[in-house]
Amino acid sequence: MMLAKRADGFGLGAIAVASVCLVALGAGWFDGPLNALVVLVLVSVVLGVALIAAVGGPEARRLLAPYGLMKPGLLWMALFFLAPVWSLVRISLSTKESRFSVQYDFTWAFENYTRAFSDFGGQFQRAFLYSAIATVLTIAIGYPVAYVIAFRGGRFKNILLGLVVIPFFTSYLIRTIAWSTILADQGPIVSVLRTFGLVGVFEFLQIMENGKLLNTPAAVIGGLTYNFLPFMLLPIYVSLEKIDPNLVNAAMDLYSSPTEAFRKVVFPLSMPGVFAGTLLTFIPAAGDFVNAQFLGNPNTTMIGNSIQDQFLRQNNYPVASAMSTVLMVGITALVLIYTRFFGTEELA
C-alpha cells in the first residue's frame, strides 16, 4: 500500500503541522473563528495519523512509531516553549499604543533593545558577575563536601546527603529572608565580628561596607551561593560516587602521588558532575532576583530585579521582554562557549 510506505513521511508532516498549530494557538496568531479552524487542523492531523496507524498494518505502525513517541515531548515544547518565546520576541519588538494601554503594536521597535542595553547594562553585568562568582564558590564549597561524602561517608552517606538537602525543604523565600535577620546590623554575625574587632579586616576584604554585612554585594553573592549549593553538590556527588576506587589504587600502583591520582583520575572523572552542576547553578542564578531584593542594596540590583520591576511595576512589557530575550540569548551564548571548552566529548 502506498499509504503504508509513506507512513514515516506522514508522521513527520503531522508532527510539523501539529507543532505549528500549537504555536499559533499559544502565541495567539489569529483571532476568534480562525482559532477554531486551527484546532480543527490540529485534531484532524492527529486523528489522521492514528487512522493511518490503525489501517496501515504493522509496517506503517513500525514506521510511525518513532514519531508517535516524539510527539508528546515535541508538542509540549511547541506549546510551552516555542509559543512563549514567539510572544516574548514579538512583544520585545513592539510599542505600546499609550502609557496605560494593554495593546502592543508590532513595529520592529529595536529601540527596546537599545534601552535594555543602555539603561540596564550595569544590571546585566552584575547578574553575570555575581552568578559566576557564586558558581565558583559553590564548586569550592560543594566539591570537597561531595568528595568526603562519596569516599569517606561510609555508612553515614545517606544521613550526610540528607543533611545537605533538609534545609531546602523550607521555602526559598523564607530561607533568603532568614539570612537578612542573620546578617542584620544588630544580628549575631556582625556582633561577633565587632566584638573581635574584625570589622576592619572584612571591610578591607570588601566583604563589609560601612560596618554592615547585610545589603552588600557580598551578601547577595553569599545568598546565591547558599541557595544554589545543593544543585552543585548533588551532581558532583553522583559522578564521584560512580568512580571505581580501584582506579585510584591502580594510579597509586603506577607510582602516582595521592595528589596526582586525584588530578589525573578522580578529578577528570568527576567533570560531568561539575559541568552539570555549573549549568544548574549559573543559569538560574543569573536570572535570580530574590537574593538581590532581600540581601542587596540599590547598587547591587541584578537583571532579574529590573525585569521584574519593568513587568510588574512599570508595566513596560516591551522593554521587559527585550531584557528577557537578551538574558536568554546571553546565557545561551555563555553556556555554548562553556560547553565548547569544558563539556568534553568523553562525558557520558
Binding site: F81, R99, Q186, R313, T332
Partner: protein, 386 residues
Amino acid sequence: MKKRNNINQQRAGLSRREFLIRSGALGVAGVSLPALLAACGGGSSGGGNSLFFDNWPLYIDPSEDGAVGTVERFNAASGVEMTYTEAYNDNDEYFAKIQPLLGAGQRIEPDLIAPTFWMAGRLISLGWVDKLPLGQMSNLGNLEDNYVKPPWDPTGEFSLPWQAGTAGIAYNIDVTGREIKSTADLFDPAFKGKIGMLTEMRDTMGLILMSQGVDIATISSFDQAAASFDLLAKAKADGQIRAFTGNDYIDDLVSGNYAACVGWSGDVLQLGKDSPNIRFVVPEEGGTLWADVMVMPKGTENVDAVAKWLDFVYDPVEAAQITAYVQYFSPVKGVREEVAKIDPELAENPLVFPDTATASRLKSWANLSEDVDAQFADAFSGITGA
C-alpha cells in the same frame, strides 16, 4: 568497542542539547509566569448583600483584646457580608495587576479599593472606576471641607477619602544618637548605608523637593525637579541609601538596620506604642500630605453594600474607632471629639490632628499632567535601581 564509543558520544551530545533547551525553557518560564498569573486574577463574586474591600495593610482596627473591629461591627449592623483583605501594598504594583483586566473592559474582584489620591486620579481619568452611590448616603455631610471636590476628582463623584496622612522622617534614636529634624539629615554621611527611602515616588521626592525649596503644590514641569532627582541619584550611587521599600520599611527601622527613613505618620505612631525609640517627625522643610481614597472599580455589582459601608465609616463614632487604632488623619468631621472620649491624649497629638504649626509644614502634590507624571516615574524608577 569503537562503536560503543560513538554511541556514548551521541548521548553526550543529546544531553547537552537537552540542557540548552531546558535553559531556554527556564528563562521563558520566569518571564511568562507573572503574565499568566495576572491574567488569572479575575473572577466574579456574588451580587447582592456581599462586599469586598481590598485595602492597605494595617489600615483598620481589627477585633482583638476584647474590642470588636470595624468590619465585624459593620457586618452586624448592616447584615452585609464583607470580605476585607490587605493585598494593596504598593500603588504601581497594584495598578500593574489590575491594568490587564480593567484595560480590557473586564471587572476585577474587589468592589472597593483604596488607591492613593494620584493613582485614583489616574483611574478616574482612564474611566476605570464607577461613580460612588453618594446619593444613598446620609453621612456625606461629614466629609471634611478640604476633601470636597479635590484636585484628583474634580467633580467629587468617584472617590471618598479613607484616611489621609503625612510622609515625614521616621528614625530610630538608638541608632542615630540624636534627634532628627530635617530632610537634610537623610543625606548626612554619618548615616551612610543606613537610610531608607520609599518606592512611593511622591513621598520620597516630595520631601527632597521641599528641602530644595521647590513647592510641590504648584510644580508643573520636570525641569523644576531635575536637581532633586540628581541629589537622590548621587546619594544612591554613594551608597547612602540602604534600600527603597514599600510598607516593609518598618522591620528595618525596628531592627536598627535603618537609622532613619522616609515613613508614614500612622505607621510609626502605631509602632511607637511598643518601641519608644522609634520616632516620627515632620521635617522643618516640610512633609507631604496625601490621602488614600476609596473608589469602585468599573463594573462593581454590590453598589448598595458599598453605600452602606461608606455611610458606616463616615459616622464619626465609627470613624473614631479606626482613627484611634491607625492614627492617621481622619477625613470625617467630628472624629476628634469622639476620639477624645476614647483616648484624650491622642486627640491632642499634632501628628494625628495637626495643629496650625504642623499643618503649615504639610503640602500636597499638584496634579501632574500625564506626560510630566511619566517623566517623574521614569526618572524615579531609573534611580531606585530596579
